[in-house]
Each structure stands twice: as structure tokens, then as C-alpha cells.
């Protein structure tokens, strides 16, 4: 007489193309919604998933339990049914096409919601010009997460070895404790920048390079603030990876403890025109100025992380002041709406006439979805 409705009605989402691949997988994992991605480079000469994407999937598989991943023959269709985040000790050799930052950004979003605290050892390229480098994530993403209540003993990101772009050979250890809930934040006032710190690194080149970078960067920044200290980090021997290179990461810290950062690395060996360290330092400093111009309490590359943590917060109002939204963030917001049915209230704050505080800011407001870490065991 009666039929059983045995299928749990949880539906999936479908997307076209490999764009914003990470966002989709990460949000799928967090929301428990299945995702199907079709037409991945289907028109391309070399169709299907790239190695680095496959590597990311493998990493996800390592930190989860019970995920179902199906990829078709050509690699143009991916079906992902997320399992539960497991965590624990994970080692992963990241594909060299993308730097560790690419993988680490995904892990940063997942790590607080694991069953057991995560200890991930990632090997590969630590610094390249395409993704946020490990140094930058360490100096900006971690303090940002601390504002959301993710901190404590084992919250750390350590650069054990540095590996520059084509060759890689770097190693990073990321440890993160688990949280049951994320607390709401009100980051509406970035306050003024009180100091600038930075790391100028060089591997397999003359240690003098780093000094030259520092010199030139200081030259630009000194006209704003005297409190600048840029560390030089020259790694030797086994810790220096397989390729030569150098770069600079600059971080501006404000009175309220928000961090804005900019960075620049030398082009990978054998690609593009080589850059003089002086130019690099100067350009990087200008990038920082650009970042300051954009402003906000969260720097441009961590916008999505901040928004995610706001989304996953308790059912309270969270506010964050951001600089202009990056395209990546805009897409992320759309994805958040798809996966969590959550929309942000977006208000533009324009600087007043006589203020000299850079461009427009965006005040993002949302009510968290009341996410609780269902993976964590209670005793």
C-alpha cells in the first residue's frame, strides 16, 4: 500500500568546466553535497583533468574517509561524493605544476573540521608566482583563522624546506587543531598599519640577492612608515630544494591585528625573463601598496577563507570589511550560495573626501549557517 521513501533526498550539484575546481570540491566536502563536474577541458587538445588537479583529489581522498570519486575515461567528467573529514597524519607529494599553496589553501579551509587534528606534510614547490606562497599563507591566513577561534597548541605552518618553481623539493608541515564550532567575528575596522615585516628568501643563488631585495623594498616603503623589518632567509643544502630562485613576502600589520600582504617570486628557471632582485623588491613593495590601497581587514588572497569561516559560523551576524572583491572571491560567494544557500549582504563603503585611505571597501555581512563539525568524536 505504501511506498518507502528510502532515498535520502540529498541532491547534488553539477558544474561545467574545471574552473574553480578547488572551491567546488572543498565546499562539497564541507556541505556533504555531491558534486558532478562535466566538460573538464573537453574542447582542449589535452582534455581532462590535469595532474595537479588529480593530485588535489588524491589529497582530499587522504584526509577524508569514505569519499567516492569517479572519473570517466577521458577525465572530462568528475563525480565526487564527499566522505567525512578524517584528518590525522597525512603526507602528500604535491604535483609540481602548482605550488604547495594551491593545496594548502584547500587544506586551510578543511582542517578545522576534521575528526582528529590534522598534521599534513606537503612536499613540492613552496614558492611560485602563480599561487599564494607558503610564507604568505603563514603570515596572513593563520592569524586570520585565529580570529575565528581556531588556535591553540598545534596550530602551525612550518616551512621545513624551500623548493622553487620548476624543480620543487620543498616541504611544509601544517598542523591544525579541530573545532566544533566557529565563532562569529566583527572585523569592521582594520585600523592603521603599525609595522611592516617581510621575508626575503633565496635558494641556490647568491645570498646577496636577498639583501638586494630588502634594500630596494625598503626604499619604497620607508616613505610611509619607519618600522620595517625584512628578514633574509637563505636556505642551503638539503633545505634548498631543486631549483634556484628568490622572492619576497611583505606583510603589513595593523593596530587591530589584521594583516595585508604582498609577495613576488622570481620567475621559474627557464621561463620568462629573469628579473633583477632590485626590481623584484621594488615591485613587491608596490604590490603591498596596492594591497594597502585595496585595504580591508583581510588581504585579497584570503578573502574567500574569511568568507567561508563566516559562513560556517554560528547563527550570528558576522561582518568583515574587505577590499574590492577578487574574481575568485566573487565566484566563491556564488558557490557558497549554491552549497549553503547563504547570501552575503554586500555594502560598499566609500572613503570620504578628505580621507586618504585607498579605494572603496566592501562590508560583507552574513548570518552563519550554524555549521557544527560533525566529524569530531565526543567521548
Amino acid at each position: 500500500v505504501c511506498r518507502n521513501n528510502n532515498n535520502m533526498a540529498s541532491h547534488g550539484l553539477a558544474y561545467d568546466g574545471c574552473n574553480f575546481f578547488r572551491q567546488r570540491l572543498v565546499l562539497s566536502t564541507l556541505s556533504g553535497k555531491r558534486v558532478k563536474i562535466k566538460n573538464i577541458r573537453s574542447k582542449d587538445d589535452n582534455p581532462g583533468l590535469r595532474d595537479f588537479e588529480a593530485s588535489l583529489i588524491r589529497l582530499l581522498d587522504k584526509v577524508t574517509n569514505g569519499s567516492i570519486i569517479e572519473i570517466n575515461q577521458t577525465g572530462t567528467v568528475l563525480f565526487y561524493q564527499p566522505g567525512l573529514l578524517y584528518g590525522g597524519s597525512v603526507e602528500h607529494d604535491c604535483n609540481l605544476q602548482r605550488s604547495v599553496g594551491y593545496y594548502l589553501e584547500a587544506l586551510l579551509m578543511l582542517a578545522p573540521f576534521m575528526k582528529t587534528s590534522l598534521k599534513a606534510t606537503l612536499r613540492g614547490v613552496t614558492n611560485d608566482p602563480r599561487d599564494p606562497t607558503v610564507d604568505m599563507l603563514k603570515s596572513t591566513a593563520l592569524p586570520l583563522m585565529k580570529k575565528f577561534g581556531i588556535d591553540g597548541e598545534g596550530f602551525d605552518l612550518k616551512v621545513v624546506k624551500r623548493g622553487m618553481a620548476p624543480g620543487g623539493g620543498g616541504e611544509v608541515v601544517f598542523t591544525c587543531p579541530v573545532r566544533r564550532t566557529i565563532r562569529p567575528v566583527q572585523l569592521t575596522d582594520p585600523a592603521k598599519i603599525k609595522r611592516i615585516r617581510g621575508v626575503a628568501y633565496s635558494v641556490r643563488v647568491s645570498p646577496q640577492m636577498a639583501n638586494r631585495i630588502v634594500e630596494s623594498a625598503r626604499g619604497v616603503l620607508n616613505q610611509f612608515i619607519p618600522d620595517i623589518y625584512i628578514y633574509t632567509d637563505h636556505m642551503k643544502g638539503a633545505n634548498s630544494g631543486k631549483s634556484p630562485g628568490f622572492g619576497l613576502t611583505l606583510v603589513a600589520e595593523t593596530l587591530n591585528g589584521s594583516f595585508l600582504s604582498a609577495e613576488m617570486s622570481s620567475m621559474p628557471q627557464g621561463q620568462g625573463d629573469p628579473k633583477l632582485p632590485e626590481d623584484l623588491g621594488r615591485d613587491c613593495a608596490k604590490l603591498l601598496l596596492e594591497e594597502v590601497h585595496r585595504g580591508g581587514c583581510v588581504d585579497s588572497s584570503n578573502q574567500s577563507l574569511a568568507l567561508l569561516l563566516m559562513t560556517l559560523g554560528q547563527q550570528d551576524v558576522s561582518k568583515v570589511l574587505l577590499g574590492p572583491l577578487s574574481p575568485y572571491t566573487i565566484e566563491f560567494l556564488r558557490h557558497i550560495r549554491d552549497f549553503f544557500q547563504l547570501m552575503f549582504k554586500i555594502e560598499v563603503q566609500k572613503p570620504s573626501e578628505d580621507e586618504r585611505k585607498g579605494g572603496d571597501k566592501v562590508l560583507m555581512t552574513c548570518v552563519g549557517v550554524g555549521y557544527s563539525n560533525i566529524n569530531k568524536t565526543i567521548k
Binding site: 574517509n65 590601497h293 547563527q315 551576524v317 549582504k345 554586500i346
Partner: protein
């Protein structure tokens, strides 16, 4: 008597004299504790430090015990009606009580209580009554949504099982407020037994709920109703009751459905009566915010995707703010669509309730129902998303709108023909936006003059252009929009940046409110590809456009990068110049874009024009105004960024259509044609810098000067001003350091001054002082805060801080979206609790509709992020102590967990000391154990209860077990013990060859090094596999084995949990049989039903024990050893001697007859002699004995004599001695 009282002398108070003075002094000083201390210091000294510590501890304990973990107060301003569930065994008077309460509150009579009945009980409180029948399914469901439980108990009978079952259900699912009500008290004739019963019942109730729980007594009935006064008291109790939020309820949205409509096409139902139904369900949203498109679980039916949610006007609204104390008749609303009182008419959008109460004023009834009706009606106008509804109900407004509005609504849709996607998309969201547009339009109309002249011009233009075949130029637009996008991308937006600082801002504020939204809407509908174009327009705010460009730049594959820089530059230049920004921008930009704009704007305009005709209902006007205000406000704040980001909202909402297209599980949320080319872009979070910013320029550098501490500070943060302020604030304080008393006074003075000032100002109403006033207020606020901080600092504990933090968050939550209109607010927050919502669910099983019974509650329980999935759950479980049997592993069990009721197969286990989960065959009797099931993912810490069957009512207690979820996982780690046994087939010293344990060499290889044991306790280890026979191995032991030994290996075998998740679909059963749901049977039941009896293993049967007598072999000691042993230890040979050898044998003597005679004589003689000797010997012996006796006597006599002689001697001697001593004494005396 009275006279006497008056005569009494009154106390005369002394006004002068020493007594009065003393008293005065006392009064002045005040008898403080300190005073007492001075007078009697001993009483206040520390007597015992230990005792003091103890009392301190105790007081602290008591203090902290009172603390609850502070929660953020998330109750909405207008909370949903309180759900009152009336529970009790049958015939206890539940319906009567509800009827009486309703009559008490609303003065209306209801006949049959069907489904939830919502009433307005007071100015700030509404109540929903729900009767709970005796079905355990209903009890479970209602316990989860109840705020207050009225537990009816038949006092004449006492407690029944149902009561305790319900209490236990409540305990598991969060304890709602429970109030007991004793009925049938009139059946007691004897007052004493009545009192006694009351007391007994009360105390039992207290132990179950809590000490001092409220228990109500309803004495006899009058005309089939409870006594008015008692009901009134009960009502009063209910309306002042406070509730503590329950965890599950506050973390999940839920709806207790009070109305259900079948929206399925009747034709489909006719052709296929079993087809899945589309149903809309109505009710107040409770718990927390509900997101659209979420997942819900309907207990008794299953999980469903919500197709659409919208909110309707409140059918049972609270009265508007007023100063009166009581409600008037009109405001005493009653809403119970399911309650069939005579003629209930279920209509598409309205429900008519017949209220045949005689004493209710007819004239007043009508307006109330009309109000309800009109509210419902009007909701439908708003709720055009209900596309299915044909707006048939609006008799009045339909004619009006049908021509204009209808056409107009159609207009954009028909325009959309060019893009099938969007065409479909439009439908739902557009409507809501249109509402806004309407609103904004109207406001524009009002303000038209103010806005700006350009706008007017523009409108004219637009009107001219009108909708001359839009489709054609829209196509063009699409084609060229790509180009424009690219141009925009490539063009360095430097100029725009510069513009930012300039006029633009001013312009925007004027321009944005008028059109931004409406444009976007239509844009959205038109096509995604236009998004960018729109953005350019929208991008008057500098960075918006930047992002746009960057985005598009990113997204673009960069294939056709044609540099149309000039164009964009032109555009931006003009933007610079533009006064009426939108207009000019458009003219500047590509014509197609402009045209699009025009269309959109035109449509908006038309709405504006049309609006007056549509606005027929009064309440709607108010709404409109409110909404328009909100809209304007909102627009001021958020120009187009929201549209840029969520421009695709429209699509998302329309995705059902796409869903249909795909016909599968999946939903395309962003089917953007333009995006397809970008679909495979680089995935990086880097935000490339704006190329236009040249950081070598001084001007650029200056633009961020103030971001650094070295820059200029704000007024309120500048060190100098702060210092000054401090002086202002503390100026008074500084001179107060001298005396404490002054401190408060000065502060007060300040406040008073301020207050006075304020008053004055308000009286005089000086306009120019506005700023000053504000400043003063701010200052006051600061002062207050500072005072508070200082004041609280004294005993500010962690708890206080936490509470304050929560308080602040709660305030923020309330304030953030308070002034946003509901349509928009719903998008940000989700639907907030307290709203009356309508949820549309497609593909409900037809039985849900055909077997609908309003007596059974329909609950829509919202599910969290991944609560729609299934997985393994690990929980802690305890058999209920009142359940009479233990539970067996793998017997199906019905669990109530979260919203769900489902059947599953649990495996019970217990954790060993090393963390291993060992399978148990049965639950322990009085202990917790673990249980693992395959079931719906539910957050940890959620309680559950288990029953073995939900069918029928048994006499026994039905709740089998209770517990809590501990862990969720996708795999389980339960193991059971497995003993592998083998037999030795060859035994060396300590090495044996064992066979029969494994089958192959490989298996052995896996267990190399594993420890084995014999039954007799000899331990050993597996060493290596042998080649033959397969599976045999060599093992060493600590001792030699016997061939009869059995070797076993103890191992742990992982057990898999059966994946059974079978929701209890009791609501789908036909009416009257809803309590007869039967799921999978247990093995025992199956066998019982089928009459199968297991053939027992013959080995397990008991047989008489036959024991063969035990034969022991002799102990054999080797000869060598025997030889070596000392004689003592040598085994003694007890066996008879062998035959004496012949040489040792002596010949026997044969006597002669004579010799025989001699021998016989000698024998006789010796016998005689012996006899004689014996005789003599005895005689001699007797004689000797006598002699000895004599001798003894003599001896005795002699001893006696001697003793006497000695005695005599001693006496004499003693006398002599005495004499001597006496004489010596005398002599001494004499001397």
C-alpha cells in the same frame, strides 16, 4: 471591641531628650555591619579556618550551580506561537481541555480538535494547541516540537504507561516544559482519599519531572466543561510561562504544518491516481532560520527537497502596538484550517471556518474572518510565485490587473523568448523584484521632481524607443556585449579610478536609488552574458567596475582580445563629465547596451505607472510604503555589487527548470553561456593588481597615506583629541580624588546636566544644535560605558564577560537586518522563525494526500548541512530499565533520532581496555554499551530512543533503549573474537607441526609470529609454514605438546554493520491504521510466525555423562635409578617370595606311633603345668595387691600423725614467738 482598640494608647515617639538624641545618632550612622563588628568583634572573628573555607566553597558551589552556559539569545522579535501539546491516555479529557482553553482565550467554541489550533492569547503571545493521541509515533513527533506539554492524568485511575513513555521521549529529545493536569477529581467521594491521591501523584510526578513541577488540579466538570475559574488560572499560567531554548530545536528550523494543499494537476491525478503529488504546506516557522531550497524531513514520510519557500502574511497576527491592557474581541484571533468545525472549506488560497458559537457577536466575527480571508487573499497577490495559482480568488483585483498587470508581467517574459533559459528563469524571482520595483517606482513617482531632471529626460527617451522589437537588438546586444566586455577588460580603467574621487559619488547617491535595481533585474533576466555589460553600467562605483573587468579578464580566454580601448576610455571620460550619471554613461557606452537599459527602465517605469491601479487593498499600501522606504535605504547602501555577485540569483532560483531539463538528480546552478568559454580558466586565489595604479606617482602614494600610523588620524581616535576628551571626562574627577562621596555626585551632575540640556533642547527644538546634541549624546554614552566598565570591573568574572559578549552579539543580530524589508532579508538570513511560511514540495507520495488525517501532526523538520546523508553512527546506548527484555544484536530496532523515525539494525559492542570495540551478542542488563548503526548523519550529542515496534499498544513499557550519538564515520571498527583451531600431527621436543588451522601457505605467512596456545595452557608461537600438507606450520611451545592437545589462535574478526535504513512511513498508512506500521521482523518473530524451529546441534544437547573407570599405569622406576636411590626411597617390593629353592627346602618329619604318644603326653603335661602356673600367678598377684593396699593405709596413717605432731609443734613455737615479741614490745614501752 472597636472602641477598645481605639482607646489603646499610641506609642509616643520622643522628639527630644537623651533617648531621642541617641536614636538620631543611630539613624545617622546607620547600623551597618561594621557597627556590629565594632560592638561585638568576637562574633565576627574567624573561629575555624577550615570551617570558613568550607562555607566559602559551599557558597561558591551554590553560586556556580545556578549558572547556565550563556547562549546568544536568538529569539526573534515576533516569536512564533508557542506549541502546546496536550498529552494523555485516551478518555482523560484532552479535547475538552483544549476546547475550554480556546474558549477561555478567544470566546469561541470549537467542535472537533483537528490539527493545530493557533490563537492569540495576549498582546505578545500566541499559542498553538495540538492534541497528541495515543500512537507512539505521534508522541515521538510531538515531543520534538513541543514548547509546553500539558500532561493530563486521570486522577481516579492514576498514572498510565503512556504518561511515562511520553516523559521518557521528552527526556531524550530535550526536555520541554511540562505541566501536569489532574482530571477526574470529582470521582472521589471521600475528601481524605482525594487529598492522599493528589499528594501521591504529585510526588511521583515531581520525581519524574523535577521537584516542584507545577501540577494543576481540574475538579469536576460543569456541563461537559471544566470550571471556568480553573481554566482561567491554567490559561494565566500558560501565558506567563518562560521557556529555555532546547538545543535541537534552536539549531534546526521546523514547521508544524497547520494547512495542506494539493497542487497537483487534477488531470494528472485523474489519469494516474498513484502519481507523485506536489503539495504546499503551511505553518509557522520555528526554531531557526530556514533557507530556501533546503532539505526537510517529514517524520512519517521521508526526506524531501523543498521546491520553494515563501512567506505569507500572518493569518493570526499579534495585535498592533497599543496601550490597552486586554485584547478586544477583534484581536482574539483563531486560526485552525484543519479543525473541521462543520463546514470547513479548503480552497486554493483561503480557508473558511464556520464558527457557530452563539454567544459570539456575529458582527464581530465577520470582520475577523474577513481579515483572515483578505490576508490570505492578499498573500496570493504577493505570492505570484505560486505560478500554479490562477489568481482566481481575487474577485476584486483580478479584473483590474488582468489587463495591465497581466500584460505587463507577460511583457518581459515574452521578451525573453530569445533566450529560452532566461525566459523560464524569470518567473519566480522576477516577481519579488517587481514588488520592489513597484515600490521603488511609486516612491520615484512621489519624488520625481526631486530626483533629477536628467532622469526625466531619460524616461522620455525610453518611452520613445519603447519596445520596438527588442528581440532583435537584444540579440545584437548579446553579440556585441562580448566585445564590449573585452574592451572593458583590456582598457586600463585608470580614468575611472581618478573619477572616483570626484563628482561621481555625489551623483551616485542621487541616481542609484532610482534605477539600479530595476535595471539589474531585467538584465539578469535577459542574459548572463550581459552581466558584464551591466556591470560596466553598474560599475559607477570604481571598484565594482574594476572587479568586473578583472573578472572578465580572468575569465576570458584571451582569444579575441581586440583592443577597443578608445571606447572604454570614451566611456570613462564621459563618466567623468556626466552629471546625471546613468543617463550619460549609457549614451556614452554602446548603443545596444543603452537600448537594453531603456527596455529595462521602461518596464520599470510602466510598473510605476501601473502601480496605483494595482494597489487596491489598504494594508498593502502600508506595506508598499514600508517596503519602499526599506528599499531606498537599502539601495543607498548597496549599489550594484550585490547584483554583480549574486546576479545569477535568478538562475539559481530557476534551476528547477533546468533540473527538469536534465531530468536527473543534478541541478545546474550557473548555466551561463558566456561562462562556458571561461569554464576552464586558471584556478588561483591571487588577485592581480590593478594595472592602472602607478605607484611611482606622488598622488597615488598620497591616496593611502592615512592607512599608516604615520598618517592623519580620525577625530575620535586622534591622540590629541583623545587627550582633550580625557581631560573633559576626568577633569571633574581629578579634583574628586580628595573625597569618595563626591565622585558619584559629580557624575550624576554631569548626567543631569546633560539630561537637562537635552530636555531644554527638545523643548526649544533648536535645529542648529543638532550636531552638538549628538556629540553630547556620544559623550554621555562614552561616560556611561566607562562607568559601567569601572563599576563592573570589581567582580567581573569570566562568566560575566561571556554573558556580555553574547548579549552584544544578540543585539547585533537583531539590529543588523532590522531595517531591511522582508523580501531582501529573507535572502540574507533565510526565513526567520515566526514567519508564516508556505513550503512547496514536489513528488510527495500520493498516500500522503489520500490518507491524510489531520489528527496526526505533519512536521517539516529542516536538516543541516550534511544531515541528509547516511553513514555509520556510533552511539552509547542503554537498555531502558523498565523494558523487560535485553536487546539482541542484529535484531531490527526502530530509532527516533533527530527528526527521524527509522528502523535499523544495530550491533552492540563494548570497548575493551585497549580501545577495541568488541561485539556483544546482547545488551548488558544494567550498563551502557556501544551500538553501531547505519543511519542518517546526525550531529554528535543528539539523543535518541529505541522501540522494538510502533504498531499497536502493548501493556508493557514500549521504550526499549535510550542513548546518545557519539561519533559519525564512514566505516566501523567492531570486531568479534575468532578462535582458529589446529591439531599437532608431529611432536618433537618443544616443536610441533600443527595442521588444520589454515588452508594455504599464504595464510600461514600472514600469521607468522602470532602467538598460539593449547587448551591446557601451553603457550607457543607460529614459526613457519610447511610445504605439505597445505596450511600446516611449525610452531614452538614452552613445553612439549601431546598428540591429544588442541592448539588455538585467538584473533579478532571485523564485523560489518548491515546497511538497513528504513524510515517509518506511518503517515502514509490509511487513516485509522496509522498506528499499525510494521517493518522488518526480528529473527525470533519470523521463526515464531512461520513456525520454524531450529534443529539444535546435536553436540550441544545434554546427554547423561558416562565415565569409564580410569586406569592408571604403574610407576616405573628404571633399575639404574633404583640402584642409586637410598634404601629409604627405594620402592619396596611387596610381592610374595618365589618358591624356596629345592636345596633350601627341608624334608618334613614323619613320627612313629610311639613318638606320637610321647609327644601327646608331653603336650598334656605341659598344658597342665601351664595351667597350674597361671593359677598360682593370679593368686600371687591378688595377694600382692592386698599387701600394697595395706601398706598404703599404713603409710597414710603415719603421714597423718606426723602432720598433727608438726602442727602441734608449730603452734607451740608460734606461741613462744608471740610471747617473745610481746615481751620485747613491752620492754620497748618501758624504756
Amino acid at each position: 471591641m472597636d472602641g477598645k482598640v481605639k482607646e489603646q494608647k499610641r506609642h509616643q515617639q520622643k522628639h527630644s531628650g537623651p533617648k531621642a538624641e541617641r536614636k538620631k545618632l543611630k539613624k545617622q550612622e546607620g547600623s551597618t555591619e561594621e557597627d556590629g563588628r565594632k560592638r561585638n568583634p568576637k562574633a565576627f572573628s574567624v573561629q575555624s579556618a577550615v570551617r570558613m573555607a568550607k562555607t566559602f566553597h559551599r557558597s561558591q558551589d551554590i553560586k556556580t550551580k545556578k549558572h547556565h552556559i550563556p547562549h546568544v539569545d536568538r529569539t526573534p522579535l515576533e516569536p512564533p506561537p508557542i506549541v502546546i501539546v496536550v498529552v494523555g491516555p485516551p478518555k482523560v479529557g484532552k479535547s475538552t481541555l483544549i476546547r475550554c482553553l480556546i474558549k477561555n482565550f478567544t470566546r469561541q467554541k470549537l467542535g472537533d480538535i483537528c490539527g493545530p489550533v493557533t490563537i492569540v492569547s495576549g498582546k505578545k503571545r500566541r499559542l498553538t494547541f495540538m492534541e497528541c493521541n495515543n500512537d507512539i509515533n505521534t508522541m515521538i513527533d510531538l515531543a520534538k516540537v513541543a514548547d509546553l506539554v500539558l500532561m493530563l492524568i486521570d486522577a481516579s485511575f492514576g498514572f498510565e504507561m503512556e504518561t511515562f513513555e511520553f516523559l521518557n521521549i521528552c527526556q531524550v529529545h530535550g526536555f520541554p516544559r511540562i505541566m501536569g493536569v489532574l482530571t477526574h477529581l470529582d470521582s472521589f467521594k471521600n475528601n481524605k482519599t482525594l487529598r492522599k491521591t493528589k499528594k501521591n501523584l504529585k510526588h511521583r510526578f515531581w520525581t519524574e519531572v523535577y521537584q516542584g513541577a507545577k501540577l494543576f488540579y481540574l475538579s469536576g466538570m460543569v456541563y461537559g466543561e471544566y470550571q471556568i475559574q480553573e481554566v482561567k488560572n491554567l490559561g494565566r499560567f500558560i501565558s506567563v510561562m518562560k521557556f529555555r531554548p532546547l538545543v535541537w530545536q534552536t539549531s534546526h528550523p521546523y514547521v508544524l504544518v497547520d494547512r495542506m494543499e494539493d497542487l497537483t494537476d487534477p488531470e494528472r491525478v485523474r489519469t494516474d491516481p498513484k502519481c507523485d503529488r506536489t503539495v504546499s504546506l503551511y505553518g509557522y516557522l520555528r526554531g531557526t532560520h530556514l533557507k530556501n531550497k533546503g532539505q526537510v524531513h517529514i517524520p512519517g514520510v521521508g526526506d524531501f527537497q523543498v521546491a520553494d519557500v515563501n512567506f505569507l502574511p500572518d493569518p493570526c497576527a499579534l495585535p498592533e502596538a497599543q496601550k490597552k491592557r486586554a485584547l478586544n474581541e477583534k484581536e482574539r484571533l483563531l486560526y485552525a484550517p484543519m479543525a473541521g468545525v462543520g463546514g470547513v472549506v479548503y480552497d486554493k488560497d483561503a480557508v473558511y471556518i464556520d464558527l457557530p458559537a452563539s454567544h459570539v457577536n456575529q458582527q464581530q466575527v465577520r470582520p475577523t474572518t474577513e481579515l483572515v480571508q483578505s490576508l490570505i487573499d492578499t498573500h496570493a497577490t504577493l505570492d505570484a510565485k505560486m505560478a500554479a495559482s490562477k489568481v482566481s480568488l481575487f474577485s476584486g483585483s483580478a479584473t483590474l490587473d488582468s489587463t495591465d498587470v497581466g500584460e505587463h508581467k507577460e511583457g518581459p517574459r515574452e521578451e525573453c523568448v530569445w533566450d529560452p533559459n532566461t525566459q523560464r528563469k524569470r518567473r519566480k524571482v522576477v516577481f519579488t523584484e517587481k514588488e520592489e520595483e513597484d515600490v521603488s517606482g511609486s516612491s520615484d513617482d512621489d519624488e520625481d521632481g526631486d530626483v533629477d531632471s536628467e532622469d526625466g529626460d531619460q524616461e522620455e527617451q525610453e518611452e520613445d524607443e519603447d519596445e520596438d522589437n527588442l528581440s532583435t537588438f537584444l540579440k545584437d546586444a548579446r553579440a556585441e556585449s562580448d566585445e564590449t566586455e573585452k574592451t572593458v577588460t583590456d582598457a586600463p580603467p585608470a580614468k575611472k579610478q581618478k573619477v572616483e574621487g570626484g563628482k561621481k559619488r555625489g551623483e551616485e547617491s542621487a541616481e542609484v536609488p532610482a534605477f539600479a535595481d530595476s535595471e539589474d533585474d531585467l538584465e539578469m533576466s535577459e542574459e548572463e552574458s550581459e552581466e558584464e555589460g551591466e556591470n560596466v553600467r553598474a560599475g559607477d562605483s570604481g571598484h565594482c567596475s574594476e572587479e568586473d573587468e578583472e573578472e572578465s579578464g580572468d575569465d576570458d580566454d584571451g582569444e579575441e582580445e581586440e583592443d577597443d580601448k578608445e571606447e572604454s576610455e570614451d566611456e570613462s571620460m564621459e563618466e567623468d563629465d556626466a552629471a546625471g550619471a546613468t543617463m550619460k554613461k549609457q549614451t556614452a557606452s554602446e548603443s545596444e547596451e543603452e537600448e537594453e537599459d531603456c527596455c529595462s527602465r521602461h518596464s520599470a517605469l510602466e510598473f510605476i505607472l501601473l502601480f496605483p491601479s494595482t494597489g487596491g487593498l489598504r494594508w498593502k499600501e502600508g506595506l508598499q510604503q514600508k517596503a519602499s522606504e526599506a528599499f531606498l535605504r537599502q539601495q543607498k547602501a548597496a549599489p550594484n555589487l550585490r547584483k554583480l555577485v549574486y546576479g545569477s540569483v535568478v538562475e539559481a532560483d530557476d534551476s528547477d527548470d533546468e533540473e527538469q531539463e536534465l531530468g536527473g538528480l543534478f541541478r545546474v546552478s550557473r548555466p551561463q553561456n558566456s561562462k562556458k568559454s571561461q569554464a576552464n580558466g586558471v584556478d588561483s586565489s591571487r588577485f592581480d593588481p590593478d594595472a592602472s595604479h602607478n605607484w611611482d606617482l606622488e598622488e597615488m602614494l598620497n591616496s593611502i597615506r592615512d592607512c599608516f600610523v604615520t598618517g592623519k588620524w580620525e577625530e575620535d581616535q586622534d591622540a590629541a583629541t583623545l587627550l582633550k576628551e580625557d581631560e573633559e571626562l576626568y577633569g571633574d574627577f581629578e579634583d574628586l580624588e580628595t573625597g569618595k562621596v563626591h565622585k558619584g555626585q559629580t557624575g550624576d551632575e554631569n548626567d543631569e546636566d546633560d539630561a537637562d540640556d537635552d530636555d531644554n533642547e527638545s523643548l526649544v527644538k533648536v535645529d542648529d544644535d543638532e550636531v552638538q546634541k549628538k556629540k553630547r549624546l556620544e559623550k554621555k554614552q562614552r561616560l556611561k560605558e566607562r562607568f559601567n566598565a569601572e563599576y563592573d570591573d570589581e567582580d567581573a568574572t569570566y562568566f560575566d564577560d561571556l554573558k556580555e559578549e553574547m548579549q552584544k552579539q544578540a543585539e547585533l543580530n537583531r539590529a543588523e537586518f532590522a531595517d531591511v524589508d522582508d523580501e531582501t532579508r529573507v535572502q540574507y538570513e533565510g526565513f526567520r522563525p515566526g514567519m508564516y511560511v508556505r513550503l512547496e514540495i514536489s513528488s510527495l507520495p500520493c498516500e500522503f494526500v489520500t490518507n491524510f488525517d489531520p489528527h496526526y501532526p505533519i512536521i517539516l523538520g529542516g536538516l543541516g548541512a550534511s544531515e541528509g546523508n547516511v553513514g555509520y553512527l556510533q552511539m552509547r546506548l542503554k537498555k531502558h530499565r523498565w523494558y523487560h527484555r535485553i536487546l539482541k544484536t542484529r535484531d531490527p530496532l526502530i530509532l527516533s533520532l533527530g527528526w527521524r523515525r527509522f528502523q535499523t539494525i544495530p550491533l552492540y559492542h563494548i570497548e575493551d581496555h585497549n580501545g577495541r570495540h568488541r561485539l556483544l551478542k546482547y545488551t548488558p542488563q544494567h550498563m551502557h554499551c556501544g551500538a553501531s548503526i547505519w543511519g542518517p548523519v546526525t550531529p554528535q550529542g543528539t539523543g535518541f530512543l529505541a522501540v522494538q515496534s510502533v504498531a499497536g499498544t502493548k501493556a508493557n513499557f514500549r521504550i526499549a533503549a535510550t542513548g546518545v550519538i557519539l561519533d559519525l564515520d564512514k566505516s566501523v571498527t567492531i570486531v568479534k573474537k575468532l578462535k582458529l583451531i589446529g591439531y599437532p600431527y608431529k611432536i618433537f621436543k618443544n616443536t610441533s607441526f600443527i595442521k588444520g588451522m589454515f588452508n594455504t601457505v599464504l595464510e600461514v605467512a600472514k600469521f607468522e609470529g602470532a602467538s598460539v596456545r593449547t587448551v591446557s595452557g601451553v603457550r607457543g608461537q607460529i614459526k613457519k609454514a610447511l610445504s605439505t600438507p597445505p596450511g600446516a606450520y611449525r610452531a614452538t611451545f614452552e613445553d612439549r605438546l601431546l598428540m591429544s592437545d588442541v592448539v588455538f589462535l585467538r584473533s579478532w574478526y571485523p564485523v560489518s554493520v548491515p546497511q538497513l535504513y528504513n524510515p517509518v512511513t506511518s503517515l502514509l498508512l490509511p487513516a485509522g491504521q496509522k498506528d499499525s506500521w510494521a517493518g522488518m521482523r526480528t529473527l525470533g518473530q519470523l521463526k515464531h510466525d512461520l513456525g520454524i524451529r531450529n534443529k539444535p546441534n546435536t553436540d550441544s544437547l545434554y546427554k547423561p555423562v558416562v565415565r569409564a573407570p580410569r586406569h592408571f599405569n604403574r610407576l616405573h622406576i628404571p633399575k639404574e635409578l633404583q640402584k642409586a636411590l637410598p634404601f629409604k626411597s627405594k620402592p619396596k617390593q611387596q610381592q610374595p617370595k618365589g618358591k624356596t629353592p629345592r636345596d633350601l627346602q627341608r624334608p618334613s618329619v614323619i613320627r612313629e606311633p610311639h613318638e606320637k604318644k610321647v609327644a601327646a603326653l608331653l603336650l598334656a603335661l605341659s598344658t597342665v603345668h601351664n595351667h597350674k602356673r597361671k593359677k598360682a600367678h593370679t593368686a600371687q598377684h591378688a595377694k600382692h595387691k592386698e599387701f600394697l593396699q595395706q601398706k598404703e593405709k599404713l603409710e597414710e596413717a603415719k603421714l597423718k600423725r606426723q602432720k598433727e605432731a608438726r602442727k602441734k609443734l608449730y603452734r607451740i613455737q608460734g606461741q613462744v614467738d608471740q610471747k617473745k615479741s610481746r615481751s620485747s614490745l613491752k620492754g620497748a614501752e618501758e624504756e
